[in-house]
Amino acid sequence: MKKTIQRRQFLGTSLVAGAAVTLAGGTLLRSGAALADNVAGWPAKAFDAKALDQAMAASVGKSNVPVSPKVKLTAPTIAENGGAVPVTIEIDSPMTADDYVSTVWLFVDHNPTPLASQFDLTPALGAAYFQQRIKMAKTDNVRVIAKTNKGELMASAPREVKVTIGGCGG
């Protein structure tokens, strides 16, 4: 158990037992994630943040990022199933050693924990392109923020996806 807590403290928070509760956002007893073994290097603080601006502050470092047409986010207008919403992220970048997208963050504004994914890229990818399927708790905005190797931050326009209750589910 002690080894587990030490691994999760990599972000530099103090190695005090109480800090474990803070890290998990006070849900040590409720959320299974706080009790399980988080993978080394997994940014728990950012992923446990419960509000969008907190999540952005903990991951991107700021919550006000300019929208750029270079950051494209595609998602359906109406999700077939809120548990599996397909999203496509495409960022216009040469992806050369001098000029490439280094980090990409995907957020769902009002999910219980808004940060959905964090991507750490290398120029060898040749293209800043990802496709995933995500869960959305309700009709909401999905948004992407990208950072280049030069430190430049740019965001996609938020994309609204309607999530409704199915009639035939079961």
Partner: protein
């Protein structure tokens, strides 16, 4: 005269052209109509309800009625999560029994093209045999214990065996009095109103296919079975037609039956026959 008037008024309610020659969805439930005639009327019904929808497109189910949802289906099909179950099924299929034989030895052509003809009526047992029951029959014949229906291994095997008929049209036969009786029992199940909501399968899937139930589009009965076993986002897993029937039973407030019950095998027989001609494509993908 009276029948024509009834047809016209009820036809207007369910959006069917009010002509004396029109097929009414409830008439397909007539237990005296032969299987071949039932199939003919079913084809007529769906052509009436969706005059511009080509027959082969019924393989898409509800997706045939919404381009937006269809594009999400196409994205999901770029890599169907059901394919993982398929690969598990293949590994299970290839693994020999303790006696050295494999599943392929139980089926003609090693299983290729076999699922297109299931369910089938077994005149020796007087029961409808499905892909699931045939897998257990194969196991028992080779000294292995039967698998529990609905278990992960059984579903994986059903998926793999059915996939060996991918691209082939459903070709279920109903020949002879025993088979016809089972078919009519399946039809009776399909048309019987059940549960707190008092819906029959037909009340939705023949009367209101292509239309919305809350925010989901109801799939048409025609072509329904060709994509099962299917991955469903709602299950986050692959499962069978009968599992879906259990779910539908619960949705209308009716008590579900155990998998591979006589009723479920009979209704699967009926449903598959109505899907004759639609190309099999498993595992499917549905919301």
């Amino acid at each position: 005269m009276k029948q024509w008037f009834l047809t016209l008024s009820l036809g207007a309610l369910v959006g069917v052209a009010g002509s004396a020659q029109a097929v009414n969805w409830w008439d397909i439930g007539n237990l005296k109509t032969s299987p071949a005639q039932t199939l003919k009327e079913s084809h007529e019904l769906f052509k009436q309800q969706h005059p511009d929808l080509p027959f082969d497109k019924y393989a898409l189910g509800a997706y045939a009625f919404s381009p937006e949802l269809y594009s999400q289906y196409q994205e999901a099909m770029q890599f169907n999560p059901g394919d993982l179950t398929l690969s598990t099924g293949k590994a299970l299929w290839d693994k020999p029994f303790k006696n050295g034989k494999t599943y392929a030895s139980c089926y003609p052509d090693g299983g290729k093209g076999v699922a297109a003809h299931y369910p089938m009526y077994d005149s020796k047992t007087h029961e409808v045999e499905t892909i699931g029951t045939s897998i257990n029959a194969c196991r028992v014949a080779n000294g292995e214990a039967p698998l529990k229906y609905g278990s992960a291994d059984m579903i994986a095997l059903q998926t793999y065996l059915t996939s060996l008929s991918n691209g082939m049209p459903v070709a279920v036969k109903v020949d002879g009095p025993g088979a016809t009786k089972a078919f009519q029992e399946g039809k009776a199940y399909y048309f019987m109103k059940r549960g707190q909501l008092g819906f029959s399968c037909a009340s939705c899937h023949m009367a209101y296919d292509g239309k919305y139930l809350r925010d989901q589009i109801i799939s048409p009965a025609q072509g329904e079975t060709a994509h099962f076993p299917t991955y469903r986002a709602a299950w986050s897993a692959v499962n069978t037609l009968q599992k879906r029937i259990q779910g539908c039973n619960k949705n209308v407030g009716a008590q579900p039956q155990p998998l591979e019950s006589k009723d479920y095998r009979n209704v699967e027989y009926f449903m598959a026959y109505l899907s004759n001609g639609i190309k099999i494509n498993v595992p499917g993908y549905r919301p």
